[in-house]
Subunit: 345 residues, 4 copies
């Protein structure tokens, strides 16, 4: 059994990790770190866990964590950086859900996060944990920068066309819609039920940090530096991201050809489900699961592809992907503990 | 492996059965019966199942079903009755999710369903599948009448006080609130999103069929025939029933005493979680799980107990309970395939 | 034109007052008091008001308020009491939306609010502003205690049967379901979108302060002191309260007879719409309007009446009723500015 | 008083017309046409209208309609065409909410609707009822083609940049999100509450008919024929469209400059509210109102403008705009009956 610590266990990404890990056959949760709820049982904070997991949440205790094999750090931005070096020193594998270890280039981090990176040498060592793209590197890593939710959905949706040089890199637009769990459990007027329900809005246009992550990975795939528009929207549901991606084609293609190309590109990926031509993804098809659903459509009038990809932001966009990374790190079948269907209802 | 048929697989109870059975370690789904979607893959009808279960739905084919060990019948009221005798003849165990096999007395069925029962001898043989109350009988049954959703929630909430003769049987009121999955997948203006969302209403006051089921079981427990008020309400959410039960106490008690009594009554039940005094259940604590959460409160001014119980109507109120029954029928640990925490989010 | 001040204008009751007053033909809003948003335009805080009302919010300035004819105080509990005497001294009519001036007896206030009343002489003078019950007294009052939302819905639903001595006063149960605006705009984990949506729960069983208000008014109507069970529930919608009221009948009646009795009791009331036998209210029929919809049903088996009443908690349960009171205070037609249909959608 | 007929009164656009007209000071509703509910009172079909409007719905009766001054036709696509010529012959003004009379060129209609237009001479006469763009023509028209919901939102959002030749006409993308009322009241599995809630999806990519309407109007404004990507999405709320519009700038601009340009372009328009730089629209700011809220943002890295516009799809996108057109046709102040703030809650 893999002994696991979840630090930041009572946020939404953390608790989804806990929920998924309680059904993982190879993992035993040993430590639940929570600043806000230290001293309380996790099953008192999240009563859905009663009779399932009655472990007490604790303040960060490095000695206790050090007895684990892996630590998931789902801490607020910045907090991860101060803890992770100690965990690595003590021999743990670390899967970090913050934005701190996702970049190749500290300058990009600095440009989008507004401060120099505090441990550039670890940044250099860390592997970007988008399993479908970096599987081999992940297997041998010590430190994983688990990707952002918007980024997972956007990168996997755009990758095949770019890899085949079929998309003009100058006019890529990603219009993404996210459920409210993406904003976390912190209080804020914008997340009050009465302010959120029956409401849709865009936010952080042209400035959302995930833009830089998407650009980094898609530039690799395209083989050239690219920039794109990324617009996040908040929609009145809990789970789910739908990214609608617009790319001008470099040569005429049909929807069927693009669908075939996507199916081939992802043919070995259990968690990626490419739709047939004429089908489109919906967030309810992926909610609660680690799947990425992708549908494609070519607008022949404009010679433009419209790709739609859907994930559950707190599963494939956070907790599920973290477990997928853990499975790779520990030599397990990548699907272990993650092969359940989405809720649909 | 238990070979299972799900008849009526594409309704909401049916598809939740399918979802749960795909993670059950001892079951293989062999037949998916669906009149409306015969010839289509279940994963085309419910695309959350892609890469998980790609079985084709079929019209009822008794020979194919006969190769199974158990059939779950989630058919419209009345349709069950015409199929079940044949299935029993061929040696299957049958777990019926309709109202057809839930009654001790055919006259009660006739009074509430408005027609004579078509197979009173099977009704006499069938066992009421509320596992916590009829566990031993269930183990050796051929035919289980799986309880209704409102009834499961109401009966388990009221049982301990009645069993202890602490409740006046004359003034019991059950005010229940249900999510919309309880109404099924059939079309109807009342279930159009724009008519349902931001709306709450009562319906079928004093006439809902589940009243008779609740009265039957609580009369057994109380040791005397009783009648009660049952009022169902439709609330704007998918999953969940919350039943608020009012009972006049036959002698003064405190909330703490009643909570202790409930905890004792259900002390061996994994799926029943009695709250401490001061805590109350919420439907999000049980959504997606087979748990029943019960909170109690005594109004000392009035010497009246207010009991609140919560379930997921399509899990403990339908599909999950059906699997719990199957586990009992086949000698498995009752929790097998059902021990996951609720979604919370 | 009536010059009006709204104190506490940026809470949900306050802003609904503002929304309704902007279409009232006889009112001009002069002062918008808001501690949290002083110095900001109301149309910046609530951008739906752009091009409609661009007034700046201010800290409490008694001299400015004193130029008005009427003040609506939608302040947090307790804050009202410190301001209202000054307003009355300066000659304003005051309609208070807090619980401070709703009681006949300071001892009841003290018992339920946990502290002595600070101005019992004003409490003695104030009129309980449930227009349908106290219309004549309201017309000549200086200070109105605007009723609570649950109380309006419950009292009007139960009154006719009690007035006719047809209900046993010993076993009255009010099971009420409220949308989330009832909790106000203050932040709290329980009101985070992800915690509220897809969730229903009971709260404050046997202890909610509105119980005392309902008991006070229904005791008057019944002509004898009565106590009852009141259970509030939170449901995942913004607007609306549905109260389901159970009363044992003192003599056998039919649903038709009770419906006729209710229609007669409220025959002159524009804002009360009694349903025909067989019809039931829904919150979407009243959302956005000042109407109270009431449906009745008699359970002949139990000789028990089940009454269902529905209001919009922030209109008839707060802002709309406050305006109805203002109309009475200033000799206007009671419907002025309030005769619009609900939103339905 | 203007005597008005609403044909198709019981669909969502129709009933919103009815709701708004009941508060219009210059209109009396004389005829409510409804095939599905003929013989029933509108207040029985939509019980929010009780005590407000108790008129009976009727089958189409041209003689009764002929006594009116104006007819609003909110009929299914195609049905309008068979009725409207008769109404015009009898001297009524007609405001048609279908797609039948929105095109300059019958060939465009035929291309997108898949059949020849049945009355091209009326199509030639009809005026496209987007008031802010065609106000003078509307005033003297007999027949108004009331614009689609997506189109109103998209055209008004894109117009100013195109009018100033600041946008490249080759790479315009409109990514629009609509609430479910946009799909109407007809039954369909996709609109079942349990299928819609907690779900977002795109549909009809590159093929939605509103594309042609948007292209027609924006081509006029740009002074050159243009084509664009239009992608509709369904989001889990009742009211509201948010359109996110991407346009490459033909010369560098700042957000502030674009905001100033928009404010100037719409400086005389009551119903268009341009946000300051840094502010973005939300559907809850416009829900229930006839306003169009527009926010702008320039992505300097990409020299691309991102424009976000929001409307209530059944008000400014249907019923409200129809009334705005009526006000123009009858020489009333354009705001009459439409100057209320949105609901916000």
């Amino acid at each position: 059994m893999i002994k696991a610590a979840v630090l930041g266990a009572t946020g939404y990404a953390g608790i989804e990790l806990v929920r998924l890990l309680t059904t993982h056959p190879e993992v035993q949760i040993q430590v639940l770190g929570s600043k806000s709820f230290a001293g309380q049982k996790i099953s008192d904070v999240y009563q859905n866990l009663r009779h399932i997991l009655e472990l007490e949440c604790t303040e960060l205790d490095l000695d206790a964590v050090a007895k684990c094999d892996v630590a998931f750090t789902a801490l607020p931005h910045g907090a991860s950086k101060s803890v992770i070096p100690s965990l690595l020193d003590r021999g743990l594998k670390v899967i970090d859900l913050s934005g701190d270890y996702r970049y190749d280039d500290p300058a990009v981090y600095e440009a989008w996060y507004g401060e120099p990176h505090s441990s550039p040498e670890l940044l250099a060592e860390s592997v970007y944990g988008l399993c479908e793209l970096h599987r081999e590197q992940i297997k041998t890593a010590r430190l994983i920068g688990n990707p952002g939710c918007y980024t997972t959905c956007s990168i996997l949706g755009a990758a095949p066309l770019l890899a085949h040089k079929l998309a003009d890199t100058k006019n890529i637009i990603v219009d993404a819609k996210s459920g409210v769990t993406g904003a976390g459990r912190g209080l804020g007027l914008a997340y009050h039920f009465c302010e959120c329900t029956e409401n849709t809005k865009a936010y952080k246009i042209a400035t959302h940090r995930h833009t830089s992550e998407i650009e980094q990975e898609l530039s690799h795939i395209a083989g050239e530096p690219l920039m794109l528009s990324f617009t996040p929207h908040l929609i009145p549901q809990k789970r789910g991201i739908l990214a609608t991606i617009y790319m001008n084609l470099t040569k005429p293609c049909t929807t069927e050809e693009v669908a075939a190309l996507y199916k081939d590109y992802y043919k070995d990926e259990f968690f990626i489900r490419v739709k047939d031509a004429g089908e489109l993804p919906e967030t309810k098809h992926v909610a609660g699961s680690n799947f990425v659903d992708i549908g494609v459509c070519v607008d022949r009038r404009l010679n433009r592809a419209v790709i739609v990809s859907a994930i559950d932001n707190i599963v494939k966009g956070a907790a599920g992907q973290a477990i997928q990374n853990m499975n790779l790190l520990f030599g397990l079948d990548e699907k272990t503990g993650l092969a359940a269907a989405g809720f649909y209802l």
